[in-house]
């Protein structure tokens, strides 16, 4: 039982990260009906910029004196960086191809993904970038179950970001514009919503969330690699599909489920094959229920 609860906590931590990445896929899909293959790279870039910023602060010596400020500043910097990167990627690789065939856009996205991960490798080196480990050393012990401060931080920050995103999308004017663009571009253009801006904004928000997940991943596992965006990217995509692509709540739930399945699969079945479970869920969902658990109807040309 203790083992189960322990795994549950680990699963929520990991699932929250997947949910954050999955939101980017689902939001971009919502506005331009395109799967952003380069999204996993935003996650990796976020992890790297977080490592760079934290390294810089600890080099200056602020890390011991003001850890919370440094962490907040690093998150803010990295998220801004990734949003900036995502807008650039969107303008180069997606915008000119919006009218072209889907295969062209997909290939361009794939090329961008390879380009970005190799750009990271060339600028940052092939070795792991290490996160400072002295942060959040403590933990709570409840009998056999332990929760580290880091896990609490990750879970609470994820929850804050998810609530914040929900508020942004469902309560503000910008969110309304985003939803309108997702539903009908022509109609929203007629009521003076600039679809280009909204699409860029969607990319930026999605990349910012993925970046936050990247920093959390780095803090949790201690290091980041240039090619780490690939597998979490596919798993987060599986999460987005599981929740019903285009649906924000669905992506959150899907992310949690994928995280749980991975942790429980690794804990109870086989840790070597832990990456396989997410793929199997992806394939099963697409085969049996392509709309996902919360998805709207997808027309026949998509699936």
């Amino acid at each position: 039982m203790e083992y189960f609860i322990q795994q549950l906590i680990n699963g929520i931590t990991l699932g929250g990260m997947y949910a954050l990445i999955a939101l980017g896929y689902t939001m971009v899909y919502g506005v331009i009906q395109l799967i952003n293959f380069a999204h996993g790279e935003f996650f990796a870039a976020g992890g790297y910029v977080g490592a760079i910023a934290l390294g810089y602060f600890s080099g200056l010596g602020y890390m011991e004196t003001h850890p919370v400020i440094c962490l907040t500043a690093s998150f803010a910097m990295a998220m801004a960086y990734c949003a900036y990167l995502a807008v650039g990627v969107e303008k180069i690789a997606y915008k000119p191809l919006r009218k072209e065939s889907r295969l062209a856009a997909l290939l361009s996205a794939l090329g961008m993904s390879i380009f970005l991960s190799n750009g990271l490798m060339l600028t940052q080196g092939v070795y792991d970038a290490v996160y400072p480990s002295e942060l959040f050393q403590g933990r709570f012990d409840f009998g056999m179950v332990t929760i580290s401060y880091l896990q609490i931080m990750i879970i609470s920050l994820t929850a804050c970001l998810l609530v914040g995103l929900n508020l942004l999308v469902f309560k503000t004017k910008v969110g309304m514009a985003m939803r309108a663009t997702a539903q009908d571009k022509t109609m929203s253009a007629l009521v003076a919503i600039g679809s280009n801006r909204i699409i860029s904004l969607t990319f930026a928000i999605g990349a910012g969330l993925a970046c936050a997940a990247g920093i959390m991943y780095g803090l949790y596992y201690g290091s980041v690699r240039y090619d780490m965006g690939f597998v979490p990217g596919i798993k987060a995509f599986a999460a987005a599909v599981l929740g019903g692509i285009g649906n924000i709540t669905g992506a959150m739930i899907g992310g949690l489920i994928i995280g749980m399945v991975e942790i429980f699969g690794a804990g109870y079945l086989s840790s070597e094959y832990k990456d396989v479970f997410a793929f199997i869920i992806l394939i099963a969902v697409l085969y049996f229920k392509p709309n996902g658990i919360m998805g709207e109807n997808i027309d026949d040309t998509r699936v």
């Binding site: 390294g55 361009s108 380009f115």
Partner: protein
């Protein structure tokens, strides 16, 4: 010209400043708490210079200021075209074949080695072309079938001691079966979903190869695979056959050449057959194809299986040449590389793919010092090709005339 330049300078400046902003945090912030600008500015100025040259060419081309260069080039291209159409196609094919046949006599060991990889990748690219170019399904897990073919030969050879020529059809068969197993559940999906599911299956196959220690020896790979053996007739002491291991690279080259030629002929014949028409109709509009009575599921599965067969054959050759296989050789990046070759050359066009493979394998060998930039350039190539020339360097010839071409 100034007018033209006025139009582009603004987005160009914004783009370059944007790039500077993206580069600086990666290159300029150091973990020891210092900030530098020198390196960023250096890298950025190279990029600035390069892109400025491209921009100038683009602008000048737009204003016809490059006529003095462009005209002779287009005239030369026209001349080449007329001579090439004046001579029948078989002359060109024969010339190419002769060059390919005598190539290893002049190239050294290294040149032959590169040529063998080109030939194997041509086979792979042609197989992927069946799936992506002809049937229009984006398959990102293609390299898994290459792996299945290679591992089939490796295991059958090292464990059961079977020879290469027995294993070659078996490799194709297992790859085909793997293709059908993967294809059966996935082929109801289209477009993006299909791409990501095939990617998932490719990864699953790689993970299995990596973890099934008893069968595949895991990440250590399988060593000691025998090369190709052939029976040579010997006329001393009467007429006997002598078994002969093909350890020489040159002889291997001819077998790889044979494989590539067979693959090219097969793909060509398939393209212009009834099956090829069915694939084309599926690629252009699947719903319409289904309404016209094309059994889309069977044809898509067939395309998938055909692609897998070519990959399996190439895989067996790969195992025989390297005499070592490990899961490292069958990662997603390899799939992306083969895809990049197909996209660069032109989806659906056989000469295009040959050119694409030659460009992407041979050029990095020439520019050895830029080895680490290879995948970066591959990624950029894919984006640029999609933006400026989506049909590839040598676009595919279509069967028949299309309605929009008639009007135009």
């Amino acid at each position: 010209m100034i007018q033209e330049f006025k139009k582009v300078w603004k987005p160009y400046t914004i783009g370059m400043l944007w790039l500077l902003g993206l580069l600086w945090p990666l290159l300029g912030i150091h973990p020891d708490g210092t900030l530098t600008f020198q390196k960023t500015i250096t890298v950025w100025s190279y990029l600035l210079a390069g892109s400025f040259v491209c921009l100038m060419i683009y602008v000048l081309k737009g204003t016809d200021s490059l006529k003095f260069i462009a005209d002779p080039i287009s005239r030369a291209a026209g001349n080449i075209k007329t001579t090439s159409t004046a001579l029948p196609t078989w002359v060109w094919l024969a010339a190419g074949l002769i060059v390919a046949l005598i190539y290893p006599q002049f190239a050294g060991r290294y040149g032959t080695d590169v040529a063998i990889s080109v030939l194997l990748y041509i086979c792979l690219g042609l197989g992927l072309n069946v799936v992506v170019g002809l049937a229009g399904m984006l398959d990102l897990g293609y390299i898994a079938f290459y792996g299945v073919g290679a591992y089939t030969y490796a295991i059958l050879n090292t464990v059961y001691g079977l020879g290469f020529w027995v294993c070659l059809p078996l490799s194709a068969l297992t790859a085909c079966i793997a293709g059908c197993i993967v294809g059966y559940p996935t082929l109801r999906m289209r477009g993006d979903y299909l791409a990501i599911v095939t990617l998932g299956f490719g990864e699953i196959i790689r993970i299995i190869l990596n973890n099934w220690m008893e069968l595949t020896n895991g990440p250590n790979g399988i060593l000691g695979i025998k090369p190709i053996g052939i029976f040579l007739p010997v006329f001393e002491n009467g007429f006997t056959f002598e078994h002969f291991w093909m350890k020489k690279l040159q002889l291997f080259y001819y077998f790889a050449l044979g494989l590539a030629i067979v693959a090219a002929i097969c793909v060509h014949r398939l393209n212009f057959s009834r099956v090829g028409r069915a694939w084309e109709s599926i690629r252009e509009d699947e719903t319409a194809a289904e309404l016209m009575g094309v059994n889309t599921f069977i044809y898509k599965l067939l395309a998938y299986a055909m692609g897998a067969i070519f990959a399996g054959l190439a895989g067996a050759f790969f195992a025989a040449r390297m005499r070592f296989v490990s899961p490292e050789s069958f990662t997603f990046l390899e799939s992306a590389m083969v895809l990049c070759m197909v996209v660069l050359g032109g989806m659906g066009s056989i000469p295009g793919i040959i050119l694409g493979v030659a460009a992407l394998i041979a050029l990095p060998e020439i520019f050895r010092e830029f080895e680490s930039y290879r995948m970066l350039i591959f990624g950029a190539t894919m984006v640029i090709m999609m933006l400026f020339r989506p049909a590839g360097l040598i676009p595919a010839k279509r069967v028949g005339t299309r309605s929009e071409e008639k009007e135009g």
